[in-house]
Symmetry: C2
Subunit: 208 residues, 2 copies
DNA sequence: TGCTGTTCTTAACCTCGGTTAATGCGCCCT
DNA sequence: AGGGCGCATTAACCGAGGTTAAGAACAGCA
């Protein structure tokens, strides 16, 4: 773990709510650096997840795989975000979500139970955790509204605004899966957009 | 506020995580009873929300209204649940969500800022808040998966399992809106189901 | 009793996205 | 150079759900 990496982690935590030096001194040694190659899994459906990570470099996706083997990309994770099989960690159950590196990625990894145990000693840390999950909840609400109220083309435009860097780094079928459509449909949409120009879209409140 | 009402509130909080008597003694006086008639609003889009409520009796819906006046029912709230324009409360901004009573409803209402200020004095209260929002996050994840991976018919079946009491109490167009379809489509689905019997459905992990 | 408003149903037509399959393109390998 | 592979595109067809509009059932009420 380089100084730059821990600084990014500390900075990210502090941005959410104040973090005391005492809490940080307990938090910092819990994390270990880890490299993932493209295609490597950080968590797999059916496993009981135990780890939480912070992305320093690279990109990951969380996805759900149906019984028939279809995949739905739920979220993309890039530099400065936390990644983990949250539902499994929170409920202390097996996860049904897969977490996979889309490219070579650098993570800071901690044991989730050990981390949350610190909440007892450091109230400020639990406050940060509360704020983080609240913010994530709001993001989920926005995503829900887009899924229901926006066309696939509108969702595609939003994706490009949300992840301007990602579009060129990952294959289009991953983007299609994130939008909840097939690669064929995304290709049609892209053609329509270059021919006719992007059409007007619903104003769904923005995250951040 | 009757004793039965405060008992339900305390019981609901305690189920999430331990609640000290000291914290409860500070929490309890913050809440005031309020009745809503069917159709009354607890929060309206464009307002800056300040209140959080606990449903003791009745039913409410949260919904988003598009620029064209179309409504999408995001959630139903019934006895024993918390209701509020969460995104607005959390981010201290105007809300884009409406909260409306679907039938005569009894709420216990508190000022959100006053309530969250208690987190400073009572760590256990902030823990409960963290757990509550975590659980809500998991519910949102499940809803997202259903929206993307399940057909309208499958979502309808899930709705009936999730709210077995509600189906008979509220008009079908509210259910259709919750499912993200039109009343016409729901009517078609209902006919298909009584004729052919409900079809097989995707196994999306259950909430609760 | 009839009028009115609300909700649900049904039918006819249309659109968007799914499905399947063929084609093309770039890239890696030997 | 040639073969193979992964990915994007395109076309043809299909089906779920949207749209519009017309009835049916029912309740409230003068």
């Amino acid at each position: 773990m380089t100084a730059e990496e821990t600084t990014l982690l500390r900075h990210t935590l502090t941005q959410v709510a104040p973090l005391s030096d005492a809490a940080w001194n307990d938090v910092q040694p819990l994390f270990r650096g880890r490299m993932l190659a493209a295609g490597d899994y950080f968590a797999q459906a059916g496993e009981h997840p135990t780890e939480l990570a912070f992305v320093v470099e690279g990109a990951l996706r969380s996805f759900y795989r149906t019984d028939e083997g279809n995949e739905y990309n739920k979220t993309f994770f890039t530099r400065g975000t936390f990644v983990g099989a949250l539902a499994g960690l929170i409920q202390n159950t097996e996860t049904y979500i897969n977490l996979q590196a889309l490219e070579a990625s650098r993570l800071l990894v901690t044991d989730y139970r050990t981390f949350t145990a610190l909440y007892n000693r450091h109230h400020d840390l639990e406050r940060i955790a509360r704020r983080v999950i609240e913010i994530e909840w709001v993001k989920k609400e926005h995503r829900e509204l887009r899924l229901v109220l926006c066309s696939a083309e509108e969702r595609y435009v939003y994706f490009r605004e949300e992840h301007p860097d990602l579009e060129l780094r990952i294959p289009q079928y991953h983007i299609a899966s994130y939008l909840g459509i097939t690669p064929v449909a995304l290709s049609r949409i892209r053609r329509r957009m270059v021919q006719d120009g992007p059409s007007e879209r619903q104003q769904i409140p923005r995250t951040s």
